[in-house]
């Protein structure tokens, strides 16, 4: 595999090009060409793919796209080019395991195979896009860490200093990122699971300076946690990302590449987003040396990932990973419904059925369209992890009709999702007991309905 300096030099030496020329004259035509070349086609009646030849076609299309379009570095206005051999070698050498956590919470996330009904998936919960008031931050994160079946956490962000939002790139942002890390680690310690890893380092840091500052060991993060480095949509690798790559590889930390291909954007529809999602899985190894990946395709306009074509594309990218790479990967579900709503739970049921039998790990959901501050409810996340465990007992063929049934339960609400609950509505802030009867009733009703439909979601 290429060493890091070789990779960084590609950003300084590739062809010079305006960003719009890269998108419209290079990326978009090449993407359409590789989709045709490898006959990648979504059958609009399906959510969960069961055609193994199609998996190979998507993989080949992704390899060709990286080799023929490259990635774009906006800081140098150059295309980072890679040969087909370099791309294939990165896919072949993609790490199949990643070790996270400390002490008795230390555990290995291993890439899964297709239809692997015996291997228990990694269980990851939480979410970095939730902004959470400092007053309930400790309780919220402790609530997540206290879910006994959980292997790792994404912790929410504190974006305020003394009641004001920290401005991006400001000194206050560095302090907010540090505060987020310190409080998250303390909340996890209070749960009695001090070694539990945080693998969305660092949610409150929007730039490399904040991230590197808050990653200093005296604030509580360790190389055995996980640090995220993102690709910008589409196929954009900026210097900030390469700076993080240089640093976190230098301290031998777990590095998570992350990407949000945008449905409706330059990648187009289902086929383009499946191919792009696979490109990012490979490029996460090739460019960032990531040993795990966050896969987070998103609908550009609807701001959710639980539409039918996106479920197919996300499932397909997991299938390609499971068949060709088995890179440790969690999937980040952006959901339309607000926290605790019926729609929110059915979206997660459909998402888990798409991803887990496809070889993916379990990740609880994030309300994205209806996300509001202080809406991270730990009890939702336990329920969604339980859904993932139930989905792990099914093959793709068994998952497909269930995914269709659960998609049908929220399809008509996609453009007008229900608002969700806040932490303070659902939990007693002193006892931390759930006090909202409707919230519990909705979850119980959905659990009973999904069990009746065939997804055996038992309380853990």
């Amino acid at each position: 595999m290429l060493d890091l300096l070789d990779v960084f030099e590609r950003a300084d030496a590739g062809p010079l090009m305006k960003d719009m020329d890269y998108y419209m004259k290079r990326l978009v035509p090449k993407l359409q060409e590789v989709i045709r070349r490898h006959e990648v086609k979504w059958d609009k009646s399906t959510i969960v793919n069961t055609d193994d030849d199609l998996i190979d076609g998507v993989f080949e299309a992704a390899v060709d796209l990286i080799a023929e379009a490259g990635a774009y570095c906006p800081d140098t206005n150059r295309v980072m080019e890679f040969s087909r051999d370099e791309v294939l070698r990165a896919a072949e050498q993609a790490p199949k395991t990643a070790r996270f956590g400390e002490g008795r919470e230390a555990k290995t996330m291993a890439g899964r195979k297709l239809d692997d009904v015996d291997a228990v998936p990694w269980i990851h919960v939480g979410g970095g896009i939730y902004t959470t008031d400092e007053k309930i931050y400790l309780e919220t994160v402790e609530g997540l860490a206290s879910i006994d079946i959980v292997d790792s956490l994404s912790v929410p962000s504190i974006l305020q200093m003394r009641g004001k939002d920290a401005r991006v790139r400001s000194p206050q942002e560095i302090l907010a990122a540090i505060k987020t890390v310190i409080l998250a680690r303390e909340a996890i310690r209070r749960s009695g699971r001090a070694g539990l890893p945080i693998i969305n380092g660092i949610s409150a840091a929007s730039n490399a300076v904040s991230m590197l500052a808050a990653a200093a060991p005296q604030f509580g993060l360790r190389p055995s946690d996980g640090f995220l480095i993102d690709f910008l949509a589409e196929m954009v690798v900026n210097y900030e990302a390469l700076q993080k790559t240089a640093y976190f590889n230098s301290i031998s930390a777990n590095v998570g590449s992350t990407s949000t291909p945008l449905f409706g954007g330059y990648g187009g529809g289902a086929e383009g987003n499946a191919v792009l999602a696979v490109c990012y899985i490979i490029m996460g190894v090739l460019i960032y040396r990531g040993n795990y990946h966050y896969n987070a395709p998103l609908h550009q306009n609807l701001r959710m990932s639980s539409t039918k074509p996106l479920l197919w594309a996300i499932g397909m990218s997991n299938q390609v990973n499971a068949k060709h790479m088995q890179r440790p990967m969690v999937n980040l579900p952006y959901l339309g419904g607000g926290a605790g709503t019926e729609m929110f739970h059915y979206e997660m049921a459909a998402y888990m059925l798409t991803v887990v039998p496809a070889g993916g790990q379990i990740f609880s959901g994030h309300p994205a369209k209806s996300v509001v501050p202080d809406s991270l409810l730990p009890h939702d996340h336990r329920f969604h992890a339980e859904m993932g465990l139930a989905a792990a007992k099914l093959t793709r063929a068994e998952a497909e009709p269930l995914a269709q049934a659960f998609f049908g339960r929220y399809e008509d609400k996609i453009k007008t999702p229900d608002a969700g609950y806040h932490y303070a509505e659902v939990y007693d802030l002193n006892t931390r007991k759930i006090i909202h009867d409707d919230y519990i009733r909705i979850q119980d009703d959905v659990r009973n309905a999904v069990i009746k439909t065939g997804l055996d979601v038992r309380p853990s």
Partner: protein, 217 residues
């Protein structure tokens, strides 16, 4: 072929993203004596609206929208001089200075808004991403803009939208420009709080809001 057929062909060719055919039917229409404004209003605009509808329904995507907008502009390069020759009114409905605020590197949503503003008849000056407060204002003054439109995807960049309004007030220019805000982090309540003139949660509603702001909606 009668006038109606020519206009239908123009519209369909635009939906098919067939630039040669669009330009061919426009020239055919002009030769047949059709008024340039009729070709725009009854041929090109129904076509671009269909492309927009298909974009909203996930039938067409950003690259197709951009191609349609480019074809539309090529067509306008033929029709606009004819309109001026005939003493007709300029189709331009206003000028917008557009960009993602300081600290924000996300541009796809802004790019879609740009296309829709252009095809709605606006002249758009796109300043790109990570745009400073005074860069917006300086450009708006330079081009005598009607509207300054800012996007912000990250919560931590929202404050830059408020700064722009504060800067306009500080310079005594608040009445000179309408201010539109949008982007993933923006809500109606935020727009109300900072006293923006318009907020849009989709690119399509942004184009409609812009027309309303200049009294053409």
């Amino acid at each position: 072929m009668d006038a109606k057929d020519i206009l239908t062909e123009t519209s369909e060719a635009l939906v098919d993203l067939d630039q040669d055919k669009v330009l061919e039917t426009i020239n055919k229409g002009l030769e047949a004596g059709l008024k340039p404004m009729d070709i725009i209003e009854k041929g090109l605009l129904p076509g671009i609206n269909t492309v927009g509808d298909e974009f909203e329904q996930d039938i067409k995507f950003l690259p197709e929208m951009m191609s349609a907008a480019m074809i539309f502009q090529e067509a306008m390069a033929i029709l606009q001089p004819k309109i001026e020759e005939q003493g007709g009114a300029d189709r331009k409905v206003g000028t917008v200075v557009l960009g993602a605020v300081k600290g924000d590197l996300h541009t796809i949503g802004k790019d879609i808004v740009k296309i829709l503003l252009k095809t709605s008849g606006f002249t758009v000056h796109d300043l790109g991403m990570d745009v400073g407060t005074f860069s917006f204002i300086d450009k708006a003054e330079e081009v005598n803009a009607d509207i300054i439109a800012m996007s912000a995807l990250l919560t931590t960049t929202l404050v830059n939208q408020r700064d722009l309004i504060e800067a306009l007030e500080g310079q005594g220019k608040r009445d000179r420009f309408k201010v539109m805000v949008g982007g993933g982090a923006v809500t109606q309540s935020w727009a109300d709080e900072i006293q923006a003139d318009a907020y849009s949660d989709t690119a399509f509603s942004a184009a409609k809001a812009a027309k309303r702001l200049v009294g053409r909606g």
